[in-house]
């Protein structure tokens, strides 16, 4: 039985989207993973870093192998990726989970690079294949946190990895009757400007794809399902922007416009005027639209007119995921330092609220003690406590104190992410340098 062109393209696109969604899919599940394995918060980041680092390092070598034999590389890659996903779900220890994530990254590199050549074979056209592959990658990256959040809430974090297995095995059907394109020799030089811009844009997007989710769930105490739904604004905006992006013929204009929108959206997230999911919607629309414009334009430019496609696809994957690792490396220390500072400031502001409240002095001492205990407990689970449960709302004075304390905690949580978002906006603006410098090379 042979698979016709359209289903084959859809299956290949789905596989690319799943592999690239895995970069950010576990973000919402991190607190649950922390609860399952007793590790430090800094160590927990290896669930994200291991995957992205392995994908970045393996992408170019995998692409060189994939260009020669894309069909078996795709098949083996998908099977190993599925097996590694299952190992993640069943991991008995944190070390096994991180190791399985690294294997996922290496197998994922083989899958996405070979998928590009298979898409060329299926569509018979390099440009269409590059566009489909880039769009699948953008959607995968953008939709990852939302899908992860929904699955974590409904079925537990392990389900994120389990549901991938049958989907990936179905995707193997794309290999039936697949034709590998002719292999041109030798591979050309990678497109430096487009890949450098991809690296910087991806580093900036770490804040939108990872930090925003942490702010919603751990900072503002929104449950993972609702947080997952809130962050779907970004992929929806990306889909709409990608759909209309062809109206802007020049790829460098699309890349520059998208990067400016990403920088603006991130800066607005850094300067949120209040805590609350609704305030994140306009910045998410800007970041999502920017992502839809910039990532696809830069990926297409990095691939256009260059052979072999798989090798240059490998370079874009390496650039994007090296960018994710760079973003994690640059933004984590800023976030950690701000977390410590805001913790101190919130404690002082909370103490002032208790001291100045209208409850009796002895009740003040009791409330202060209970809050300190709750904050310590919540710290070990990396979340902000719900103080209204602790203070109680038995009379106006208690209700007023609870609301003032919650306000200070919300301010502290929002402010903790602020400088990281602003730093990410700055990184996005830096991506304009290679885009502008390489604009002649990026023009149609």
């Amino acid at each position: 039985m042979q698979v016709t062109v359209r289903p084959r393209v859809s299956l290949l696109g789905l596989t690319v989207a799943i592999v690239l969604a895995d970069s950010s899919v576990v973000t919402i599940a991190l607190p649950d993973i922390l609860a399952r394995f007793d590790v430090e918060i800094a160590t927990l980041a290896w669930v994200l870093t291991a995957y992205n680092l392995a994908l970045a390092l393996a992408a170019v070598p995998a692409a060189f192998v994939a260009r020669r034999r894309p069909v078996p590389v795709f098949g083996v890659g998908v099977v190993v990726f599925a097996a590694a996903s299952l190992s993640c779900a069943l991991a008995p220890s944190f070390d096994v989970l991180v190791a399985a994530r690294a294997v996922q990254g290496v197998a994922g590199a083989a899958v996405v690079c070979s998928a590009l050549d298979l898409l060329t074979g299926a569509t018979g056209d390099d440009a269409t294949a590059a566009r489909t592959w880039a769009l699948a990658g953008v959607l995968g990256a953008a939709i990852g946190p939302a899908v992860g959040g929904i699955l974590t809430q409904l079925l537990g974090w392990e389900s994120i990895f389990v549901v991938q297995v049958p989907l990936l095995l179905v995707a193997l059907l794309a290999l039936r009757g697949a034709v590998a394109p002719r292999i041109p020799e030798p591979a050309e030089r990678p497109h430096i400007a487009a890949n450098l811009a991809l690296l910087l844009v991806s580093a900036a997007l770490v804040a939108a794809l990872f930090l925003l989710v942490l702010l919603l769930i751990n900072g503002w105490r929104i449950d993972p399902l609702a947080a997952g739904l809130i962050v779907t604004v970004m992929p929806l905006a990306a889909i709409v922007a990608a759909r209309y992006s062809r109206r802007i013929p020049s790829p460098w204009v699309r890349a520059a416009s998208g990067t400016i929108l990403i920088a603006g959206g991130l800066a607005a997230l850094g300067w949120l005027p209040h805590a609350g999911a609704l305030w994140t919607v306009p910045p998410q629309i800007a970041v999502g639209a920017g992502l839809g414009l910039a990532l696809s334009a830069l990926t297409e430019r990095a691939l256009a007119g260059r052979s072999a496609q798989a090798v240059h696809g490998g370079w874009t994957i390496a650039a994007r995921h090296a960018g994710v690792v760079l973003g994690l490396v640059l933004l984590t220390p800023i976030f950690t330092a701000d977390l410590e500072r805001n913790e101190k400031d919130a404690l002082a502001a909370g103490t002032a609220a208790v001291v100045d409240s209208h409850i009796s002095p002895l009740q003040k001492l009791g409330v202060a003690r209970d809050i300190l205990v709750a904050v310590d407990d919540a710290k070990s689970e990396a979340r902000i406590p719900d103080v209204s449960d602790i203070v109680g709302t038995q009379d106006d004075a208690h209700a007023d104190l609870a609301s003032k304390l919650q306000e200070q905690l919300d301010r502290a949580a929002t402010n903790t992410a602020s400088r990281s978002f602003l730093a990410a906006a700055l990184i996005a603006l830096c991506a304009l340098v290679p885009i502008v410098v390489g604009r002649r090379d990026m023009s149609v």
């Binding site: 520059a256 603006g264 209040h274 805001n342 003690r369 200070q408």
Partner: protein, 147 residues
């Protein structure tokens, strides 16, 4: 190029609106300056008057040490916190107690002058404040509140 101009305008408008709504200052409230006298609230009962006097005394100690009132309040949360605070600010726990007692003494005078405290009650509180062993009170509260 129109797309770049449109994106720049949209991004700038979004950022400016968020800044205009107070985005740059949305952070935990800053601690008040302990060296600036606070207004006396309408105290209801001796307990409330005593509380304000103690807080005013803590303000005095905080002002001398160059820290916030909240830092001193948190330092009196437990013996361990008191010792840590004293170490960090180069005073002994006894020195810190002495600073608070001096502040309380001054706050009592202020309260009498403001007419919220009867001079004979003031004398009683002054006597208590100078004798109560703060460390023992902290331990007592620890046991009481820990139950």
């Amino acid at each position: 190029m129109r797309a770049i101009a449109f994106s720049t305008a949209a991004a700038a408008a979004l950022v400016l609106v968020y800044l205009a709504l107070g985005g740059a200052s949305y952070a935990p409230a800053k601690a008040a300056d302990p060296c600036t006298p606070r207004d006396w609230r309408e105290p209801k009962g001796v307990q409330a008057v005593a509380e304000q006097i103690v807080l005013s005394g803590i303000d005095g100690a905080a002002c001398k040490l160059g820290v916030s009132r909240e830092d001193v309040v948190l330092a009196f949360g437990s013996r361990a916190a008191l010792e840590r605070f004293a170490r960090e600010h180069g005073v002994t726990p006894t020195g810190l107690e002495r600073l608070v007692r001096t502040g309380i003494d001054r706050a009592i005078t202020d309260a009498v002058e403001a007419g919220v405290l009867n001079p004979s009650v003031a004398q009683l509180i002054r006597g208590l404040a100078s004798r109560i062993p703060v460390g023992d009170v902290i331990d007592l509260l620890d046991r009481f509140l820990g139950q």
